[in-house]
Structures are given as structure tokens and as C-alpha cells.
Point group: C2
Chain length 336, copies 2
């Protein structure tokens, strides 16, 4: 056993979205959900207003360091930083976007330095962040850069209570997907995934199920040849490296209950192949985890939900799940 | 109220597969599952052997007509036809394929003539049927031809207890899908689906949710333009015809529980988009229904499962669901 793990750093997300209120809601349930200590990186006034919008009467305490945050967590929601502003839920503006970026930047810095054991990022509006100088496609790429890793080696995994999936391609047209799938992509991202499941999820020999691209896995080339040409050779290369990889599996059967019991993660070829089953099965509890980084990063798998913010309507399930998963990963890395 | 609805005609499927034993298993549960009367089109000896392989001791009675089948159904499994042969589960051969084709042909004829109120087709091995002269891609096209309908107007719907989906393209490579989606395809198949849900499923105003092709429904053309160019205009045309069609919906969120409550059928652009959520949610109870025909046709949504046949391992859930759905559709058409 090592010493206690450092607390998590939570970035606010866009202050006009559901991020701040869900941090407050998660802290209010810290005992019943057995959550690890965390510190909100933002401003005490804004979070207090967001908590009030949910009818939550909670103690909020500004702190000067993550270590102090760990001390106060049991009795108050610790807030680090002076990133305060008016709370105007549902009305995003440039000042709020700048505040979201400052929170994200500071939370990433605290995690890279080791003061925080992991970063849990709140939901942002990418287009609005771009207006205030954010030069990344999304938070995953930002966090990868902050940690000194090429964005192409930062692997997005979606995880719910019943399923983990890795989409190898994401925000690209369906027509462009077949041209983006390469042997190298399948092999490299799968290997990163396997290493991360060992290190951060405590799986001694993670089982990877690699999905096919085409229906019925192409039926021996009769409906698409990517399985034989790219995916099967990548699986053979992974197996040769000692990784427990199987497939290519016809994607339609891969997410049935009996099939899910046979693997720890499904490697998927495109966005909807990975997200349809995850949201069908685990809608309100999906966590976005970035694998392959020297730091641990999780995020609730939903957006800013400007239309729900400030109305006590947003479900904190995914935020709670992201916090718990970050804590578990940090504990695994610390060897505890 | 009209008179009693005629019994269903069940084709055997490949006799080396799980088809015959599942007919016997369904009949054994006729009371607990409240199944409508049905007649197996095949041979009494073969079905008796298949029943015995599951340890089922059931009465089997050869009948000379569907009407006689209806009379005996309560006390014995009625079998029409002299399509008998040795029962060799797991060992398909040409004689068995010929028998499967004869059973399918006769069951379709009985349904087109009106002696049967619907056909429930057992699972076949398409490649083996082709060897004995079957000139169709699958049973759907065969049944459409038998009913005098163009195969392109026979719409495949997959239905489970929690979800109905229609895949607009099926057994084709993923790369070919975008080129196959046209405004006309979306509009015509959706309209056929809406009409069938009214006539056969008793939905006065069926709600159709049309899925997008691209992730996030293309995000206004940033990742694919098929939504704006083809799918949205098709939806507008459907709405102009008085059909309750919505979308294009991002496919990842469309199958979450809350979303599913807002529609009666999801119109999907490709095989895995329709089949991933169905099998994730309703694996053992999926029914394949052919819409747009003058006759009613359902089928359990699984294959011959040669590897499971004769071992009392195959789940009769999908066969029971296919029989029940065929009976319900027949009752709706009969106006009862």
C-alpha cells in the first residue's frame, strides 16, 4: 500500500451548461455513492449559485491547494481557483467560454504536475471555446497535448456499467470510414487499449473483441473485404504480441448479453457502431475515458445540455460514474 | 367480429437445423404462451424425431388440410404434407435442402390461397437451398414473388419486445451504403412501413423515427451531407403525405430507452444500425416481419444454428414470438 491517492481535479465545463450543477449534485451524494475526494476548479460563487438552482444547500469552501481540498472534502465541496462569474444557465457567452477554458487549463496542469490524481472534465461547447482561442477539436486532444502525447495516440473509450467500447474513427462521415481504417490504426489503438486496461482498470489479461466493419463480417469478402485485408491481419499481429484479441466479429451480435460476457472491451470501427449499443444499454451512465496518457482523464459522456441547465433536470449519473471511474483508475495506478 | 382466423402455416426450415425442434417446442408451450393455432408443413416422422431430441413427448397428427389442423391443434401438433425424411441434426445435405424448399413452397402456397392466415418461415441455409434450385437471395424475396410483389417493395422489419427497426440496406458492404441511400428509397420504404403498421399492427397513426446516416446526423453537413440532401427531403415528403415521420435523428441516441418511447419504428440506413440495437436489447426474441405483402409473413430472426441442432440447446423464444406476431397481424387484418 502506498499513501492516500491525491484528490481528483474537476473542470467546470461551460458555466452556462449543466457542468457546475452536476459537480454540486455529485458532491451532495459523495457518501451514498462512496466517491473519492475531488476538488472543483472554478469559482465558489458560481458553483454555489448552480447548487442553489437544484435546491441543494451545501457547504462550499475555497481552498488554496489540492491537499487542502482533500482535507475539507468530507464536510464541504472544495473549490480551487478564482474563476468566478455570474451564473446564467442556458445563456452561454464568451466570458463563460473563457472561464471554461481557464478551468480546463488549470485542472490539466494540476493533474500533469501530480497534485491531482486525475482530471474529470465537464462538458464544453467546442464551437464557443474555439471563439476564445481553443485550438483543439475537443478536450481529448487538449488533454493529450497537456500531457505531451500525440493526439493520435490518445484513445477514446466509452464505458458504462455493462459495456466498454473504443471507436477507432469518430467525427467523420460514414462514407469516409472505410478509407480511414488501416491495419496500423486497428493494431496501435488496440494495443494502447490493452495496456491501459491492464494499468488503469486492473485487468491482468484484458479481452479485446474487434468488431467487423461490414455486415456479417463481410461473409468472406462477399460484402466488403476490409475484414480479411485489414482487420484480421491486425488481430493476428496483436495476438502475436501476446494480446487477447478476437474477431473480426459481426457487429450486430457483438452487443447481445451473452456476447458481452466474453470480452472486456469492444474495438469498433466507427462512431455509431460504438455509441449505439452503449447508449441503448447505459444511456445515463456513460463515461468517456482517454486511454494512453501519462495522466488519467475521464468525462461524463454528454454535452453541455444548455436547454436543461439551471432547472434541476440534468441527471448526475454520468458525472458520478466519471468521478468514480477516475478514482478507481487512480487507485490502480497507485497500486492500491 | 368476423369468423375464426385460419391457422398459421409454419415451414420447417432446413431439417438439419433447429427449425423442426423449435416448432415442436413452441407447440408444447401453446397454452402457457397463448399461441394461435398453427400447422407445420413437413413430415410427421421428422418432427417427432426432432421433438424427441428435446425430450418432448408430444402428440403429432398428420392432417389433410389447414382446417383439419385447426381442429386438432389443441390436442396434437398438426403436420400437413408428406415431406418426411431422416432426422440428422447438424448434418445438412441436399435431400434436406430440397425438403426445406418443398416445405417453404407449400406453406407459401397455402398462405397465398388464404387457407393459412400467415406464413412463419423456419431458418434455412441460403447457400444450400441455392444448390437445389432456389433462385432468390433469401426467403423474403421468395415470399414476395409467391405473393406477386416486387422484392424491392417487400420491406424487412425486425421486431422485438422493446424495439422495431427497418434496415433500408442489408447485405452490402458498408462502403456501398451511402451510394445506395436515395430520397425515393427512404420515402417509399417508410410509406410501406407506415401502411403496414396501420393495417397489421393496429397502430392508427404509426410514429416513424428516421435515423441519420452520419454521426451526429452530419452536424449540418460537417460530416456528411446525406441528411440534408436525401433524408430530410424524404421526411418532408412523408409528412406532406400525412405520415408521422421525424428525423433525421442521430443514431447513437435513438435507441436509448427514453428515445424509444417516442416512436413505433426506427427506419435505419444500414444492416448494423438496425441490428445492433435490436440484438443488444432483444437478442432471443427478434422477429423478422415482411411488410408490404398481400400476405403476412414472419420468421424468427436467427439462422439454422446447425451447431446447436438436436441438443435441446436452441431457445424457442424467437419462434414463439414470430408465431404470436403472425397471429396478431392476422387478427388485425381480419378486423378482430
Amino acid at each position: 500500500m502506498t499513501g492516500p491517492v491525491a484528490p481528483l481535479a474537476l473542470s467546470l465545463g461551460d458555466p452556462a451548461g449543466v457542468g457546475p450543477e452536476l459537480i454540486a449534485a455529485a458532491w451532495a451524494r459523495r457518501d451514498s455513492e462512496a466517491l473519492p475526494p475531488f476538488v472543483a476548479v472554478g469559482g465558489a460563487g458560481l458553483i454555489a449559485a448552480a447548487a442553489a438552482s437544484r435546491g441543494l444547500s451545501i457547504q462550499i469552501q475555497p481552498v488554496a491547494s489540492m491537499a487542502q481540498g482533500a482535507e475539507v472534502f468530507a464536510r464541504a465541496l472544495p473549490v480551487l481557483g478564482d474563476l468566478d462569474g455570474p451564473y446564467t444557465p442556458g445563456q452561454p457567452d464568451r466570458a463563460g467560454a473563457a472561464l471554461a477554458l481557464a478551468s480546463l487549463t488549470q485542472a490539466a496542469r494540476l493533474t500533469v504536475s501530480g497534485e491531482a490524481s486525475a482530471i474529470v472534465t465537464g462538458p464544453i461547447a467546442k464551437a464557443r471555446l474555439a471563439e476564445v482561442g481553443f485550438a483543439y477539436p475537443g478536450q481529448t486532444e487538449f488533454v493529450a497535448a497537456a500531457a505531451g502525447i500525440a493526439a493520435s495516440d490518445a484513445v477514446m473509450m466509452l464505458a458504462g456499467p455493462t459495456l466498454r467500447t473504443v471507436p477507432l474513427t469518430v467525427h467523420t462521415s460514414l462514407a469516409s470510414v472505410p478509407g480511414l481504417i488501416t491495419l496500423e490504426l486497428v493494431e496501435r489503438r488496440s494495443a494502447i487499449t490493452a495496456a491501459a486496461l491492464r494499468r488503469d482498470f486492473g485487468l491482468a489479461r484484458p479481452r479485446l473483441a474487434i468488431a467487423a466493419l461490414n455486415p456479417h463480417a463481410g461473409e468472406e469478402g462477399r460484402m466488403g473485404d476490409e475484414e480479411g485485408r485489414l482487420i484480421a491481419p491486425a488481430i493476428a499481429a496483436l495476438v502475436a504480441r501476446g494480446i487477447d484479441a478476437s474477431g473480426p466479429h459481426p457487429a450486430d451480435a457483438l452487443f447481445a448479453a451473452r456476447a458481452r460476457a466474453t470480452y472486456d472491451v469492444a474495438i469498433c470501427m466507427y462512431h455509431d457502431q460504438a455509441l449505439i449499443p452503449l447508449k441503448a444499454l447505459d444511456f445515463d451512465q456513460g463515461v468517456n475515458v482517454t486511454l494512453g496518457l501519462p495522466i488519467i482523464r475521464t468525462s461524463p459522456d454528454h454535452g453541455t445540455a444548455f436547454g436543461l441547465a439551471g432547472q434541476n433536470m440534468a441527471d448526475p449519473g454520468a458525472t458520478i460514474a466519471a468521478i468514480r471511474m477516475a478514482g478507481e483508475c487512480a487507485a490502480h495506478r497507485a497500486g492500491s
